[in-house]
Each structure stands twice: as C-alpha cells, then as structure tokens.
Amino acid sequence: MSRWLNPLLVALLAAAAFISLHAGTVWLSPALVGSALFAPQTDLPALIVLEIRLPRLILAISIGASLGLSGAVLQGLLRNPLAEPGLLGVTSGASLGAVIAIYFGFAGAFSLATPLFALTGAFLTGMIALLLARSGGTLSLILTGVAIGSITSALVMLALNLAPNPYAAYEIMTWLMGSLTDRSWDHVALALPFILPGLALLLLTGRALDALALGEVQAESLGIRVSHIRLMALSGTAFSVGAATAIAGSVGFVGLMAPHVVRPLVGHEPGRVLLPAMLAGALIVTLADLATRTLVLGGAPLNIGVFTSLIGTPFFLWLVLYIRRRTA
C-alpha cells in the first residue's frame, strides 16, 4: 500500500486539477480548456482558464501543500498529534497584517496591499516566536506560539470592534474566512518565492523527525541537532504557511487533517508522512476550492476556510475520541 500511496495521491491531484479547470460558474468542455492551454487565444474560455482558473488552481495546490506539509513536520517535531501550523502564531500573525491593511485603507490603495501586509505579519510573528523560544525547548515553542496567536487574535477582534465602517468590518470578516476568489498571477508571483523554499526546508527535516520519534535525548545521541531542526521547521512554516495565509486568508484544519489521513498508510513513521501529507493537503484544498465554486448555498458562494472547517471540525472530534480510546 505505502509504495503506491504517493503515485495514487499524485493521480488524484491531477484528476482534481483537471476537473478544477473545467468546473465553475461557466462549465467548459475539455476541448475548450485544451485549446485555451495549448493554443493561445483571447476568447472568453481562454481568459477564464488562463487568467482565472489556472492561477487559482496553482495557488490552491501550493497553499494546500504548505498546510499539509507543515502540519506533518510540526506534528513530528512536537510529537503531538494535535499540532498544526496555526499553533505557532504564524497564521494569526498573517491575519493581523491583512486586517491592518484593510483597516487603515491600504487595501483600497493598491491591490496587493493585503497579501503584502499579511506576509509581513506572518514573518514578524514567526521571528518573535523563534526569538522567544530560542533557548527553551519544545514546550516553550508551543506556549510562545499560543501566546502570540492569542495576542494577534485579540488585536484582530479589536479592529473588528472599532471598524471605521460596516464595509471594512465585512471585508475583514470575509478575509478571515479564507478565499481564493479573484486571485491572479500577481498573487502567484508573490506567494511562490516564499512557498517553494519553505517547502524545501520542511522536506529536509524528514530524517530528523524519524529519530525524534525516540524523544529529543535519543535524537541528539543519534547526531541530530534538535535546535537546528526546530529552526528549520519554524522558518519553513513561516515562509510557506505565512505566504499561503497571506494569499488566501486562514484555511483551517487542513494542516491538522492531511497528516492524519496518510499517517496509518506509511506505518506512522514521521519522516515518511511528509510527502503524502503534502500531496493530501494539496488535494484537500483543491477539492475544497472546487466545492466552493460549484456548491452555492442560498445564493452566496461558500468561503474556502468555512468549507475546510466544516469538514475539519468533525474530523477533529473524531481524532480526539480516537486518541482517547487509544491512550485509555
């Protein structure tokens, strides 16, 4: 099973990507999509495919990959099945940056203001978490992340509380729910230079995460520098998830779910979870994006963060019950 897992996930992802280019408000035939992709044209189907759906698909895949992979790395590093990227405060840092951009009107001034501010917020919170937790161990890293996350969430709430007008409050709420609507190649160009190196950093931790299954002391005795691995995991998460959140807003639960879906299929080895978790994350976000485009409840389109949380929360409950049963 485990030998076929990665090829299977790649095939599923390719299928989801294929459908994603065809489906939406305007359904296109494979012939139209094919000619739009491979024979440059300027008609409406070509515009829809090249300027709307393709950048959106690339963003969905890279955002899902970031969330799934960093979730797997953090669960392995912290040896805690409940760890997820949001735990380190990077996600809420990005939210705060975006909220500042919307609140003070920068978002209206130029279109990339929101993601740029969000990116800055993510990196700043990641750096603060790292500096504060540098000398301490894993527990202090979690606690620092939770504390930073709480402060930034409180500031986001403050901004909502004092919002200058209902429109700003609405815009902040929409951003917090996560969305891939109206994302363009500009967003791709902004996100990928951070997401790709972030993913590379995270993938390099595999061997060390395996050794960490024996605990930090035995990992050190096997030649692993645990402090370096912590630094790689945190900066990889800040880069990839920071950029992902900056583009799409908060997309919850993917980082928690994706590693757990694949973990039993690779014999629970933390290092071997990484690649399938990355693919599963990409698959989940691509499917969620597809669902938000095609499912319309009561006239309004669903936001992707709402959708992933809707399927994520029952999963989370199941996880808690499952762990309780296993440890009881």
Partner: protein
Amino acid sequence: MSALTLDRVDVARGGRTILDAISLSFAAGRLTAVIGPNGAGKSTMLDVAAGLRTPDSGSVWLGEEDFAAIGRRALARRRAYLPQRAAVEWPISVERVVALGLTPTLPAFGPLPEEMLPAIDDALIACDLVALRDRAATSLSGGELARAMLARAIVGDPELLIVDEPTAGLDPRHALDAMRRLRDRAQSGRTVVVAIHDLDLALNHADDIVAICDGRLIAAGPRDAVVDEAMLGALYDVRVRLSRDAEGFSVRFMGDAA
C-alpha cells in the same frame, strides 16, 4: 577498541556543582556499573560520557581522540546512548525502530539502503525480537520495549554503549536478561557503561564499579577491589550487610547508619 576517559570534568548548573573534578577511565571489553544515591550526578556523568553535555571544564577522550575533535555524526556512529525510560512516541514497527539506530549512517533522503538490512536482522536476532518485528513499538510490554531499545542501540555496532538504568521497571527475569545482553556486548570487546540502582545486579554482573556521591568520585576500579561494606555504607548513608557465596553477591540494607 577504545577506552573512554574523563579528565578533570566539572559540571555546574544554576550555580550548583553537579560534577566535581571527575577523572576516571572506562575500560574497553568491560561492563562498568556506575552506582550512587539519587541526585549523585550519575545521569549527568553519563550525559558527559556520551558527549551530549559539554563539561564546563575538563575533557572526555574516546581512545586517543578528544570528543571535541570527533564531530557529532562520527561520534553518533561510534557511541550509542539509551536514556532512562526510553520510549517511542508513534506506533512505528519494531523493525523500523531498530533501523533508527542507523540514523547517523543513513543518506539524507530515500529508503533504507539494502546493505543495511543484514545489520537490522542481526540486531533483531540478538535481542529475540524476530517474532515482534512488525509489531507497533507502542504496544510492547516493558521487557519487550527494553529489548527493542537495546537492539536499536547496538544495531550500528558502536564501540561505546552507555545505558542509564537498563533494568528500571523490569521484573527479575527481564532485568537479568538485560544485564546478560549488556555483558555480551562487553565480552565482544565494546566499552559498556551503565548507571544502575539495583546493587545485586550491579555487583553480580559488572566487571568494574564506579561509585559517585554529591558529584565526587568515591571509588572506581575492579569490583572485588572496590566493593566492601564500609564503602557501600558511606555511599548510601545506611548500614549495609554484604555477603558472598558461590552464587555471587547479595546486599542487605539494615536501616539508618548508626
């Protein structure tokens, strides 16, 4: 094979002296038991001896080489260390847990190289784990887990093996079994160091005894030369009756020192 030598090692933590000018040598091909009361500095000394903690002053030598010059990965290949209550955090199969002992020799990516599989098989056989190789490590009993951890430690055939409390939490049969396997390692020429509270096991299975108390070396040397009632009494601050017959040593503690 090479002896492990500590040369005037000092360790302090938060202004408190943990180890005070410890100088001693652990001989190759011998099983050395480190004994002493709780808080004597046994675990800290093992950490220093394993190269996991750099002493505040003094140096540690493996054969003719200073630890500081050996390098982290090279040291990891030559020395194995098992902490107290070693455990596995995910339900990984026993075989893969044992394979983790080869981490310092693995390439950065990819599956386990074919040529390493025989070493894993040998370690599984040596520790009676063949029937358990596909079991999840989190579902093992205490004795089985101790065997799996020992197999993980010896799979790379390290010349130096350091184990903190190998028999804690084991029943008598499994404790004896663990000591026998450690003896086997020593007999094949490796340097084996264990910290141990069970004096009966220590005295009957170790070649050399190292006694420390309050961070200072009380005694070190071959068991028969070092161990007597006066030394043990002073070490633990209780009256001790030590008897010896054809079966070996037995130790009785008689209550507070008068």
